[in-house]
């Protein structure tokens, strides 16, 4: 109990005193996960639109794969990417292993199936009649898609939040492909692991609290956007 109180005090101390290392780690986590979530939102939502508007043979199998992707263990993705990025590996020439870019790649792979899977189910639930009506009224495909995205803002933003929650809290892949290098690829989650290993439980918990505060702020913004669309309809 004492430790918990100590660590909350420590977290506040780190934040209020503008501790340089903490801010650097916080900023890096935010930067990496934001870039990753933007990229996977674009890929995920467009792919979901495409799949939902087409009929093809192995559609169910494909959707099963996507849904399995939602449960992909980060550490497995990390191992896979590490092997690809090894300098004697297939993509070794890119020299990306142990860089923030490598973490971004891993997080994109982790978040994309989540966003794709959830938004796909939303698009599939969209009324076919409505779609036909829109096209009948002379809307182009692109216009139809934009309308669908706007109408389905609620589940799509839920998808993005789920994806963001998945990657900001992920440790296995970041540790492996980033290498947890101090001042360079150490993000909040790997910092928690390091501080725990060093026996600095107060610091570890403090970083955890900083992480929760960060995801709370991001979710607050996303929820605001999400909920504003509801009130407009009323």
């Amino acid at each position: 109990m004492e430790l918990l109180i100590d660590s909350i005090t420590k977290a506040l101390e780190l934040i209020c005193n503008l501790d340089r290392e903490t801010y650097q780690i916080l900023w890096l986590s935010l930067k990496i996960s934001t870039i990753a979530i933007l990229a996977s939102s674009i890929v995920g939502i467009t792919t979901a639109l495409y799949i939902s508007s087409k009929e093809f043979r192995f559609k169910n199998t494909l959707i099963t794969f996507i849904n399995t992707g939602m449960a992909m263990p980060p550490v497995l993705v990390g191992l896979f990417i590490t092997i690809l990025l090894w300098r004697n590996g297939i993509l070794g020439k890119l020299d990306l292993l142990y860089t923030p870019a490598a973490i971004i790649i891993a997080q994109i792979i982790l978040a994309t199936p989540i966003i794709l899977g959830i938004s796909l189910s939303a698009f599939q639930g969209f009324s076919e009649k409505f779609k036909l009506q829109m096209l009948g009224l002379g809307a182009s495909r692109l216009q139809l898609y934009l309308i669908m995205i706007r109408e389905l803002k609620l589940p799509i933003l839920s998808a993005i939040m789920a994806g963001f929650g998945g990657i900001i809290s992920e440790v296995g892949a970041s540790m492996m492909v980033g290498g947890n290098i101090k001042g360079y690829t150490r993000v909040l989650t790997t910092a928690i692991v390091t501080e725990t290993g060093k026996g600095n439980f107060d610091f570890a918990l403090a970083y955890g609290i900083v992480l929760l505060l960060l995801s709370f702020s991001i979710n607050m913004i996303l929820t605001k956007i999400q909920q504003s669309s509801i009130s407009r309809h009323e």
């Binding site: 870039i35 933007l38 990229a39 674009i42 090894w86 300098r87 004697n88 070794g92 890119l94 020299d95 990306l96 292993l97 142990y98 860089t99 923030p100 870019a101 971004i104 934009l146 290498g179 947890n180 290098i181 101090k182 360079y184 390091t194 725990t196 290993g197 060093k198 026996g199 439980f201």
Partner: protein, 276 residues
């Protein structure tokens, strides 16, 4: 507008990736053990080296086993490890060159204060291990092929016990810090390097029950990866960093590192001896 934003974001990502790509030019990959990182020693030494030389060191802290494996694949430029037998094999197979002794500390056998296996007054570490096995007292092992784990396995081997499948023998498969926590919570015995133990001591009720045996010496060597074997490693950087580790200046830092916080040094410098 939306389209413009998308293009802009992809562009940003691209720039970011390119930037990272060029940032890796003058880097050295140091694969090392968790003990050098968890004790905080590298947090002192690496920034000093970077400031002096302008190199950027990527420190990958894993078990000695994994560090040697990374070296074997040419995925690291330099190793700082403590698994002497595996290191000699590594050198003899031509993966590494110029193995130099940097420092040592020692392993200690830790256990609960009550000492159910009565290892405290055993004459040697071998006898202590024997007593643990005979009493079937809980023993927590690293189980991760690290230098510490290899050392522990060696002692079991010498006394002819193979506790792998015994119920009193549990493997955590994780780093020293984590393993100490487990042993602490479960009131088990465990073998640890002194540095990590001292660094974590304030959170532990485990006590040193056996120490000082010659068998328990824990020696750290620096190894440069053989540049003839892998063309794409940074050998010049690796040599510079290895020279740095055995330099007088660093040896002096190692000598006093940790004294202020733990009352005694965590490592003892060795490179000065080898120069003689």
């Amino acid at each position: 507008m939306k389209r413009f934003a998308n293009v802009f974001l992809i562009f940003l990502l691209y720039i970011f990736a390119i930037k990272e790509l060029y940032a890796t030019k003058n880097t050295i990959i140091l694969a090392t053990t968790t003990s050098t990182q968890d004790s905080g020693l590298l947090d002192v030494l690496i920034p000093l080296f970077e400031k002096k030389t302008g190199y950027f060191v990527k420190t990958i802290a894993v078990g000695s086993g994994q560090a040697l494996m990374l070296g074997k694949r040419g995925e690291a430029d330099i190793l700082l490890v403590h698994s002497p037998e595996a290191e000699i094999k590594f050198i003899n197979s031509g993966y590494g060159i110029n193995r130099r002794r940097v420092m040592h500390n020692d392993f200690v056998l830790l256990g609960p204060k009550e000492d159910p296996a009565n290892v405290k007054n055993s004459r040697s570490i071998k006898e202590a291990f024997k007593r643990v096995a005979e009493q079937r007292a809980l023993f927590i092992s690293r189980g991760d092929n690290s230098g510490t784990h290899v050392k522990e396995l060696n002692i079991w081997k010498i006394i002819g016990k193979y506790p792998d499948k015994e119920r009193w023998y549990q493997q955590t498969g994780s780093g020293m810090g984590q393993t100490l926590s487990v042993a602490n919570e479960k009131n088990g015995y465990t073998l640890s390097d002194r540095g990590t133990y001292l660094a974590l001591k304030r959170n532990l009720i485990l006590q040193i029950l056996k120490e000082g045996d010659e068998e328990l010496k824990n020696i750290y060597h620096v190894i440069e990866i053989n540049p003839e074997r892998f063309s794409n490693i940074n050998h010049v950087g690796a040599r510079a960093l290895a020279d740095f580790f055995v330099s007088k200046e660093v040896q002096k830092i190692i000598k006093t590192f940790g004294v202020d916080r733990f009352g005694s040094p965590l490592f003892f410098p060795d490179a000065v001896d080898t120069i003689k």
